[in-house]
Subunit: 273 residues, 2 copies
């Protein structure tokens, strides 16, 4: 790449979050950076898009000499708008994060950080989401920024397989204790919810989502294993959700030719009689 690559930076914690500032600083060493991030925290937004409301965009001056916009929409809206209204072309790379908290294993499904990266990948833009396993207010994003820089360079140099993005999680360790990177699969894990039930001052019931993350996976090739053992986990992710391995089950076990008794085609109840 002769010219500096264009790098779109977004996140789901909002443009004030320290994680995106660490990521912008790391990406400035590699390319021409542009920021389009939510104007407020959007954690847990998954792949939500704003259909029924207008979206606002405001240029902000909080990243030094980097062109930056705050967006009233979701992380996915940010990527769509950046491409259509700000860049007017595909950037060479889209990076999302650095998220304040884990997006490993099943968390990818709920994550605005990862959904922004996935939206970029759907658009054919090489994309990476970064998350740090640290919820502390004063979390140290420097080790994450170091690995974000390394991984972004490898993606710009070697490309990504078609229709693939990366989910990168970084353990909450001092940089000298991180043992390197592992290419992993998504661990089989889930959240066990317990809603905290309360009554408001008018006596009406409401609920807060709480829960416990449970890893059911004993494999040493998962992101959970890597993170537990001091590695940065790198999961290649796809957005073809087809369970290809299950197609034959249905073709074998299901009666697919049943139609409505009044149907003009296929096998009707009459034909069976």
């Amino acid at each position: 790449m002769a010219e500096k690559p264009t790098i779109l930076v977004t996140n789901d914690d909002g443009f004030h979050a320290p994680g995106i500032h660490a990521l912008v600083a790391a990406m400035k060493e590699i390319g021409q950076v542009i920021v389009l991030a939510p104007d407020k925290p959007q954690s847990g937004m998954g792949h939500a898009i704003t259909i029924n409301d207008p979206i606002r965009l405001q240029q902000v001056d909080v990243f030094g000499d980097v062109e930056a916009y705050a967006c009233s929409g979701t992380p996915v809206d940010c990527v769509k708008l950046a491409k259509d209204k700000i860049l007017h072309h595909k950037p060479d790379l889209c990076v999302s994060g650095i998220n304040h908290g884990s997006n490993s294993s099943i968390n990818i499904i709920y994550s605005g950080t990862m959904s922004a990266a996935m939206e970029a990948a759907i658009e054919g833009i090489p994309a990476i989401g970064f998350s740090l396993l640290d919820y502390a207010h004063d979390a140290d994003f420097r080790p994450s920024a170091h690995y974000a820089s390394q991984i972004a360079r490898q993606v710009l140099e070697n490309g990504l397989p078609d229709n693939t993005l990366l989910n990168v999680n970084i353990p909450a360790l001092p940089v000298q204790e991180i043992r390197g990177m592992r290419i992993c699969r998504q661990a089989v894990a889930k959240w066990e919810e317990e809603y905290d039930e309360r009554n408001d001052p008018r006596g009406h019931r409401y609920f807060w989502l709480t829960g416990k993350f449970v890893n059911y996976d004993q494999g040493d090739d998962t992101d959970e294993w890597a993170l537990d053992n001091g590695y940065v986990s790198v999961v290649p992710v796809q957005f073809d959700l087809t369970a290809h391995h299950a197609i034959s089950f249905f073709q074998k076990n299901w009666d697919l030719h049943q139609t409505h008794p009044e149907s003009h085609s296929g096998r009707s109840v009459k034909d069976l009689g």
Copy 2:
């Protein structure tokens, strides 16, 4: 199954939408139905969850003798709450829809309907999302309800492969013109966005999301093909997003053992020198 199966019904169009009423009527013929659905439309919410706000739940009396609740949260919140606070156990089946509009191919990623079904599947509940390719206000949900009933019976009878749910889309055709069902893969397609740019009365710019759905896939094994040819499309869906086929690419092409120069382990810059 000796006793009547318990069927949880939800959607993303809200409990007033005609699609969920058609689905409840169809499921009442098969099992013991309970409804927990959003109290307002939640289209495009993807897999969003409510983390930073309390959630309200209110019993509503709009489905005849069927126990039903309206929820202030997202479609995914509805499934989580139903299991934890209303049913206190896993239902035998969760059905979501019938959505007013397509959730075929890439639309699954943005769809609240499908995310509710996916959340149930993550919980180990057999789950199906239903969508009708008709945006008309007076869309006829009867053909969809007929196929929803058939498919729900097949799932209760034959089960689903582990960690698999179903994305069912129904063409907007009279029931006698529907040619049966096809087991499909998700077509390679995407939305090409064009934001509609306007100014508000105070002269401030805002955007509306608009766009065109483009199918890039010529295969006759896709959901788009099935729907275009008068079939109900049934896509088995998974929530392991790992691009397993891409793992070897990274293991071959990437230098994974690079650590920070100050690292205690792995291959450091010093070792290379």
